[in-house]
Symmetry: D2
Subunit: 369 residues, 4 copies
């Protein structure tokens, strides 16, 4: 199977001259601007022609996001999860809600592949931590998904354990602060956005030094929206670019979803991370989303500021925590909204045309079919 | 105390030529387009000059929304509540969550007046239902609020039981489908929105006949946002209209809030009404909100389709319920987003300049101080 | 109105020879064993004979619990709230959920008096903090309730602001670690429990020194249960003590409720306090509760370990936090279950017979009518 | 691999002379008393001696519960899920929360096998519904788990897709109202309960005819509790039967969990099913549980009364719904508490001694090692 990733990338939103919001970006305008965060993709493209369920064509992949390159099970990070609309199969959320920590890489993939990918994360955790389930407690993999069945043989569940391990290896070997490939890659290989090709997008914001100077990054797997809904920085471009798509309203609306990952180095406890998650819907809305019935829209947020050992040796620990006060939080909330909006649009701007099963085709943004 | 309501009203958003979204409005473009829903205001304006805590000046009021003009305790309606951001004092939410019904008028007022207004709703329920707490169970008043302390002597808690009863009487005596007064009236008398005068706003949408033809109405008490954030139908007007206000960012951001009431005649169970609530944040975001830390942003939604008796005589009842399927729900979700966006802007467009305590002043939208 | 409190008290559960659980109690076996926590009651008993709604007879009161005797608005404590069953009117919960702090005394009273009591807490907060709503944000009073309408003229809402202020003054003037009056006092004056007289009850537990040695206290306002359900330390005494009451099953079941307050000096963040709340239902179940439909069963939990300033001067603070690990949490969870079970039974054992409106009578536990 | 199931079964609680509660049981005192509900197990026992991670010994399995024997994807049932304590990996919960329906068999297995089992449920759904992900939306498998790593090679994830399909086939081929095998079978093959061998247990209750005569069934996979905590019908037998186990308190407490499935033919909407879930903790508490930190305690509840088509042909449907009123709900709540308590004890009474990896041994209840 062909896992080659294309080396060229289309211009991102800012390269196209559109600036979202007022806060500055980090160096890469990517989730990896939060120091230590890594991203890795495996992209799966194979076969053409009529859908043969279980065989192909394959247009899918997996994207992993690591809060740090070390052993997440033994050094967990504070985290929160949030359901915007629950028509989705995200897994691992119950334990994050209860304990407020993330002990797994976050993996994104296609809807029907969630459990195979989760199982592959278990392999990885066992390899790093041979005591899991024997001497210590078990392990909670966190996986999100979008439905790429319009282009991909989704029933085939083609993302294998080896594909997950490859994405993890790529992430772990990447440099601190490396750029993130966007568009039709990894978990975004087969997804659609506002009727065009969607995929992976990312962005970041840095809040003012007097408010702490922390960085907030977002990464999305975009797969939602009807063409007529698209808004770019306040401009309802969707209404004039694709009038032909208005008729497709109902069909398009039903199969969407978006996964959003937020990372920050601000020292937030899980309750505060939950509050960040609550602002994601505002960022989505700015791109035109009305959060459709059939959409699985979930947020996973983490802070890299504190590491929580799996086996603490003391009863208490001393932790630096942000105060719940408007000055800093308002900047962080603005950062979430701006970064999510821009990450969605980056996924749209950078995605390349993909033709998949049954000749189904999603063209790149700006082109007609 | 002067409770006179001004008879003139400034042009609403559509009268100013701005059309939000694509769905048609109801006859009044108001929450009262949902048949049976009534609205009543009591507006309190008294005194001028320096703040004398507990005395005045008074710039506040109360707005009540009735799902029907009858006895809500004996004929309840299906309902849901939702917390977008919980820096607020809304009351009555726990029981609505558990039982999925509303048995009280919804009252909106200022933050510190919540409990006096709730107590006045108890008076009203006792007058209609003398058995409450004696033979039958008790009563759950539902009240929302915004902080109007920039203009109003909020410590004074000037909304009396008589003021609540007057608003209830006005609502009950109003005609079916009557227009709703907006702007600086009732609970909106002293509120601010994006740095200008805010207040009460409303709007409605009718979904296509082939999707059921149901009506969705929204009413808001707006009190949030910084001038630089304001977006009108995609146009970031706030950034050019009030550059002087950018400096006021922090102070303005801290005291905001918005209460949103949704009504529909679509036959929704409480879980489905909860899903409508989940789209309100998208409507707010389109006006520029990033849902600030200090904001109490709550939604209360109800359906008028089914009446639930307080003392049912059978073990089960047969109920018409909307199916959970994309065709209708997507239209209802779009209707929520459009109606909330327009209701907020209607509150802004119709509000008139108010000068309050200490000479504090909120000018009407479009004017500079 | 007679606010005298009886000086005698019936024997508590341990004095009757029943020991619940295995953990040791604090010095007073009371919520005040958590250093700094204070409790105050105002008990209202007036009139006899037929119910005259709005006039009497009066058998009610108010109980306040203070995390510390200082200014709670300017020095907040970490807190969580929890709904076990939401047929109740508790207020102030939304903001505690969002911000994870308590800035108000906790007041308990009768169901229809909640809002007058909340308003009186506002008076008190304004007296201590004249800037509320003027220069700073507003104030979030927290009030819980039970329905004492079987004995009390509940429609009369007889707990006045002065009664609340008296309870607050009593609490503030009490000694650190003072015993707590239980039974038919304060908010428990008119409540019922398992068909006998209920009321206020409290208990505490100290966890082992090697697990931190922290104290956990519970205080309840009991008003739930049918006679046949009562279990005392595993003995289903209700089934043999009151066979006459089995017939009353339905009527009794409908009006119950219980409010539970948990306090600890363990350094818990709000998420962890939430987890403590989740164990309260186990304590209630051990007394025989099946958590009835008509019950308003709510928990409010706080930790005295950290004080959160209303106006922090730094962006972050360093906080000692318990690690989320089994050794300590299991002891704290056991402490919650044991203390809640014992607090309920203390309320039952110490309550004295009360005859109220219409000659309605709840006899003390162990007696027949 | 040996999947033989032992044919003998130890006496259940009632056969041992212990009667829990006052409501009558259904014919089998099992979840299958709810008409149409089926249960199937695959039990995996292989190997002995030292743990060889990934190889064995194997002491595990899978248990499936079907609301009906038909196609659950095309005919869904109303459902709710609930987290008592979230230290667990249950999957499929987000979508049940959002949509209030179950479209999958419920499968129970060991902790690290969750995702392979979920993937096998996908196979099964695809076989029945070849359009999934191609023409229609995707599929939401629901899986719960307990950690059987004390006896089982949990890292091996030995429950294969074939094992899941075998359990599904067994369930589908079973008679309506068939008895359910309990104890050391299926997902309970390797679990522990209060320090003895635990496993699968079930029970049912029928509420009075005048309250509707509906049936409520519970099935549990028990894996929680310390020996000293065990209470049987109010008798703290754990404290006298196993004093040797008190020392093991900490170790035992850390790895527990319990999965609870509730079924009823009462016509409940998802909100009401959620309320049933809220009573499960009371049933657990009666057996001695304090809901430990390391426990994944989750409830899944469904009603068989209404079938929801995947592709409805009308906008609304007419549905018989239980009224939210005390008479019936109190009986159903009592039924939940009684059935859960008895199901846990049945799992304990019927489980047989199992010796597993490294010679680790859980003896049957009533025996010492």
């Amino acid at each position: 199977m062909n896992t080659e990733q294309s080396r060229s990338q289309r211009p991102r939103l800012r390269q196209a001259g559109v600036v979202i919001g007022s806060l500055p970006t980090g160096p890469q305008n990517a989730i990896t601007d939060v120091t230590g965060v890594r991203v890795g993709h495996t992209t799966l493209i194979a076969g053409d022609g009529p859908l043969q369920p279980g065989i192909g064509p394959v247009r899918t992949g997996v994207t992993v996001i690591l809060p740090h390159a070390g052993n997440l099970y033994s050094e967990k990070v504070r985290a929160a999860v949030h359901r915007i609309n629950g028509f989705g199969k995200a897994c691992g959320f119950e334990e994050v809600r209860e304990l407020g920590v993330l002990e797994s890489p976050i993996a994104l993939t296609n809807t029907l592949n969630v459990w195979r990918v989760a199982d592959a994360l278990v392999d990885d955790a066992l390899a790093q931590n041979p005591d899991i389930g024997i001497r210590t407690s078990t392990f909670n993999p966190v996986v999100g998904e979008c439905n790429d069945g319009f282009l991909n043989d989704i029933q085939g569940r083609h993302v294998s354990a080896a594909d997950v391990h490859a994405a993890l290896a790529a992430a772990r070997q990447s440099e601190v602060g490396a750029p993130v490939r966007e568009g039709s890659v990894g978990a975004g290989t087969g997804t659609s956005c506002f009727g065009w090709k969607g995929g992976i997008g990312t962005a970041s914001r840095v809040i003012p030094a007097q408010a702490g100077g922390w960085t907030l990054g977002a990464l999305v797997q975009s797969n939602f929206g009807r063409a007529d809904q698209l808004v770019v920085n306040g401009d309802a471009v969707g209404q004039r670019l694709r009038p032909d798509h208005l008729a497709a309203k109902e069909a398009d609306a039903e199969k969407g979803s978006i996964m959003i990952v937020l990372a920050t180095d601000a020292p937030l406890e899980s309750r505060q991370l939950q509050r960040l998650c609550g602002r994601v819907a505002a960022g989505l809305a700015r791109t035109g989303s009305t959060i459709g019935h059939g959409s699985g829209d979930f947020v996973i947020a983490f802070s890299t500021a504190t590491r929580i050992p799996h086996e603490p040796t003391t009863l208490t620990h001393s932790e630096v925590v942000l105060v719940d006060e408007g000055r800093v939080l308002s900047f962080l909330f603005d950062a979430v909204v701006e970064a999510v909006e821009e990450a969605v649009l980056n996924s749209l701007y950078t995605a390349t045309t993909v033709t998949g099963r049954d000749g189904n085709r999603r063209v790149k943004f700006g082109e007609n079919e």
